[in-house]
């Protein structure tokens, strides 16, 4: 009897659990489906995959001959193609099949098929891993397309630099530039620091010493209840971009002087209680955008649109932006054509439109506020912006200011892995005082050596 009851109990419970899980799954699927569904023009019901965080997405597809396959991780691509490109060229005579794969899964999906017949025709790549594909030698040389090259003359130099192989072959281009800035709360600054304008702020934090002094002043004025920045994420990107050399030069790991500076600054700020020490893009990081505990964040163009504005609805209007201690850039998306593509000319046509067409750039800049890669268009439109979120400040103009000073040569194909390892194993533990400098750097070197056995680490 007991056994029977036990069995009954077990089966009901597990059945219940299964039902519960089933419900959860469909719920999540519904959410994720919104972005993915419309993208797949050419495909039937696709296979559904999951990211590490359990978010579902449709497996990327290739549509075979006569279909231009585009693999991307941003739904902006879909808007650009469907609402602009296909509007302008409604009689292409072939289909465009867009697959959107979440960024963290993008490489895992693409790498196994890259350089095979199953590869898509057009790929998008983000700053973190763009060089991996640029340097792979498996993308089409764009210089054979005259009109594209003509258009690319208007593209900002650093954008072209990043899309160019070490041997000078230009293989990927972008429609955007992604300069960064320091965003801060004007209301908190005038209350605690007596700083009344952007110019005064920039003067105060124009270099790292000034930045630290301002942070100390803020701490003293508020008894430590307001932090200068959220955490190391706000320091890392400006510092990375001020390095002399990228992570790897001539197959040798380079730990630049600025990297040491970054580690010291981060540690000082933690020790002296100058920053909140929240994890980048963690719960407290975003919560701080609506609270009164954090004075500012280092964010790029897209960071303002996708992170700050949506999370700062209660603090809207109080934010201002300045260059900060160091001009930098962060992120950006490049587009290229695979050599295995059987529709290279068609792909080039798409890339030419998205990355060089003046009309498209202007429309895109006006509709989305994105800072585009076309110099002429940026100069033309930069005067006309006024952003309520920034108290009427012209963000476009301020961002455009920073573009000229960006150096793209600092980006290497190793950035994603090595940068990630540095943050995990060296910057974070050292800044929190868990490890000493050499110990932390050794752990970092060990990981790099393990990830890239061919790189000389010391």
């Amino acid at each position: 009897m007991i056994k029977k009851r036990l069995l009954l109990g077990l089966t009901t419970l597990s059945a219940l659990a299964l039902v519960a899980c089933g419900n959860g799954d469909t719920g999540a699927g519904g959410d994720a489906g919104d972005t993915g569904d419309t993208g797949d023009n050419g495909s039937e019901e696709g296979e559904v995959l999951e990211t590490e965080d359990g978010e579902e997405f449709e497996a990327p597809t290739t549509g075979g001959a006569g279909v231009l396959d585009v693999w991307t991780f941003t739904d902006e691509a879909q808007t650009m193609i469907n609402d602009y490109y296909l509007e302008e060229f409604s009689d292409l005579g072939y289909e465009i099949n867009i697959s959107i794969v979440p960024t963290e899964e993008f490489e895992t999906q693409l790498d196994p098929v890259f350089n095979t017949d199953s590869a898509p025709d057009v790929i998008f790549a983000e700053q973190a891993f763009v060089k991996k594909y640029v340097e792979s030698g498996m993308l089409v040389d764009l210089s054979q397309y005259d009109s594209l090259m003509e258009g690319a003359e208007n593209t900002y130099d650093y954008v072209v630099d990043i899309g160019t192989q070490e041997d000078g072959t230009f293989v990927m281009n972008s429609w955007q530039t992604t300069p960064g800035a320091f965003f801060y709360r004007q209301d908190l600054a005038s209350e605690h620091l007596g700083i009344e304008s952007e110019d005064e702020m920039q003067e105060a934090i124009g270099d790292w010493d000034g930045f630290l002094d301002t942070a100390r002043e803020l701490r003293d004025a508020t008894d430590g209840s307001v932090y200068m920045i959220s955490g190391r994420g706000d320091l890392a990107h400006p510092y990375y971009m001020s390095r002399e050399q990228g992570w790897v030069v001539d197959n040798q790991l380079v730990i630049d002087e600025q990297i040491y500076e970054l580690m010291e600054t981060a540690r000082t700020m933690v020790e002296e209680g100058l920053m909140m020490d929240a994890d980048p893009q963690g719960e407290e990081y975003f919560a701080g955008m609506n609270g009164d505990e954090i004075l500012g964040y280092s964010l790029p163009t897209w960071g303002m649109h996708f992170w700050l504005v949506p999370n700062g609805d209660q603090t809207a209007g109080n934010w201002r932006m300045v260059t900060g201690p160091e001009p930098y850039f962060r992120g950006g998306t490049w587009i290229g054509i695979t050599q295995t593509s059987d529709m290279q000319d068609e792909a080039a046509h798409l890339i030419e439109y998205l990355t060089t067409s003046e009309n498209f750039m202007r429309a895109w800049a006006e509709d989305t506020g994105d800072v585009v890669s076309h110099q002429g268009v940026v100069d033309e439109v930069r005067g006309d912006y006024e952003m309520e979120f920034l108290g009427g400040q012209n963000h476009y103009d301020a961002f455009a200011e920073g573009i000229e000073r960006i150096d793209g040569s600092i980006i290497t194909e190793y950035d994603q892995s090595i940068g990630g390892a540095f943050d995990d194993l060296a910057l974070t533990p050292y800044s929190k005082g868990e490890m000493e400098l050499e110990e932390a750097l050794d752990a970092f070197r060990m990981e790099v050596q393990s990830l890239y056995p061919d790189i000389q680490v010391d």
């Binding site: 498996m138 407290e284 995990d424 050596q449 393990s450 056995p453």
Partner: protein
């Protein structure tokens, strides 16, 4: 379903036998899918992995060159891999010892006639539940439970006055290891309990009755009858848990990705990172997999042999 009953008359028997011979080949057909899948998805990948461990296939390369035992030398000198091996064992031991102890205790209580507990079915299902939840969800649950500085555990500790300032659990090597081990323990003790209970229920009741007649206490019959007769099933639990433990991946990877300070970097997270991140060193990943296979085999044999020599007699009498 392929077998037929054979109780029939002599003449009918011959006919049936003839027919049965014909049916037999369907057995192969029914077995074929398994073997095809096995060959394609187990057998071939295994030997391909072994082959890869002797090559230099990495990154974008599509052609593999044989390089002899170089990969094995390199992996022997790879400090991160060594650390991963020791991490894996630490995590496994810390999770397995409490797990088997608790599982034994629960199995004993659940099967004890004298205690005659109520609601066993309910509790057994309850204890088994963590195993049904997917690892991804478990990792999310625990990372938010222990999150810093305002996770529930921290708030509980703070309000209870147990700590003065919030604890950043996932920045501490010891804490992170403990949490990972605890999750493994929590996910698997229910399963182990059920297996052990099945083992106990398989022991002949007469032995316990006889012991009781002879005046043995509960503890005595547990240590003198249950424990020895449980050796085969304990061996099974030990070996499956060891194999599972050596392949620990999802919880450490999803929880912290191997950090802090590479403290929960296990062999499989190492292999995964080698194969899919950084330089995508398929050769190194394959070599590490082969080493893992050898280690698993060696440890299983070791455990198996140490159990068999001491209790081969009892195994014969034991669970069927």
């Amino acid at each position: 379903m392929a077998t037929t009953t054979t109780t029939t008359t002599a003449t009918g028997k011959q006919k049936r036998l003839a027919k049965r011979k014909n049916h037999d080949k369907w057995g192969y057909v029914f077995m074929a899918p398994f073997f095809l899948f096995f060959l394609a998805f187990n057998f071939y990948p295994m030997f391909y992995t072994i082959y890869l461990s002797f090559t230099d296939l990495a990154g974008w390369a599509t052609e593999a060159n044989i390089v002899g035992f170089r990969n094995f030398q390199n992996i022997y000198n790879n400090m991160l891999f060594r650390r991963a091996v020791s991490n894996t064992f630490i995590l496994w031991v810390v999770n397995f010892i409490p797990q088997i102890v608790l599982a034994f205790l629960l199995a004993y209580w659940f099967t004890s006639r004298r205690l005659n507990l109520k609601g066993i079915g309910f509790f057994k299902s309850l204890f088994y539940l963590p195993n049904i939840i997917t690892a991804a969800s478990v990792a999310v649950i625990f990372s938010s439970l222990f999150s810093y500085p305002r996770g529930p555990i921290n708030q509980f500790l703070l309000s209870g006055g147990l700590v003065d300032s919030p604890v950043d659990f996932f920045r501490s090597v010891v804490m992170t290891r403990l949490i990972v081990s605890f999750i493994q323990f929590w996910m698997w003790y229910g399963q182990t309990t059920i297996v052990l209970q099945a083992g106990i229920l398989g022991i002949d009741e007469n032995l316990f009755d006889a012991a009781r007649v002879d005046g043995a206490t509960d503890w005595q019959s547990f240590t003198k009858i249950t424990m020895p007769l449980m050796k085969p099933i304990t061996l099974y639990v030990l070996i499956t848990s060891l194999i599972g433990g050596l392949q620990m991946f999802d919880i450490p990877y999803l929880l912290t990705g191997g950090g802090p300070q590479q403290s929960v970097e296990t062999m499989i997270t190492f292999i995964y990172k080698q194969a899919f991140q950084g330089g995508r060193n398929l050769n190194v990943a394959a070599t590490a997999s082969v080493v893992l296979l050898l280690m698993t085999t060696a440890f299983s044999l070791l455990v198996f042999n140490s159990f068999r020599t001491r209790s081969s007699k009892q195994i014969k009498k034991g669970v069927k």
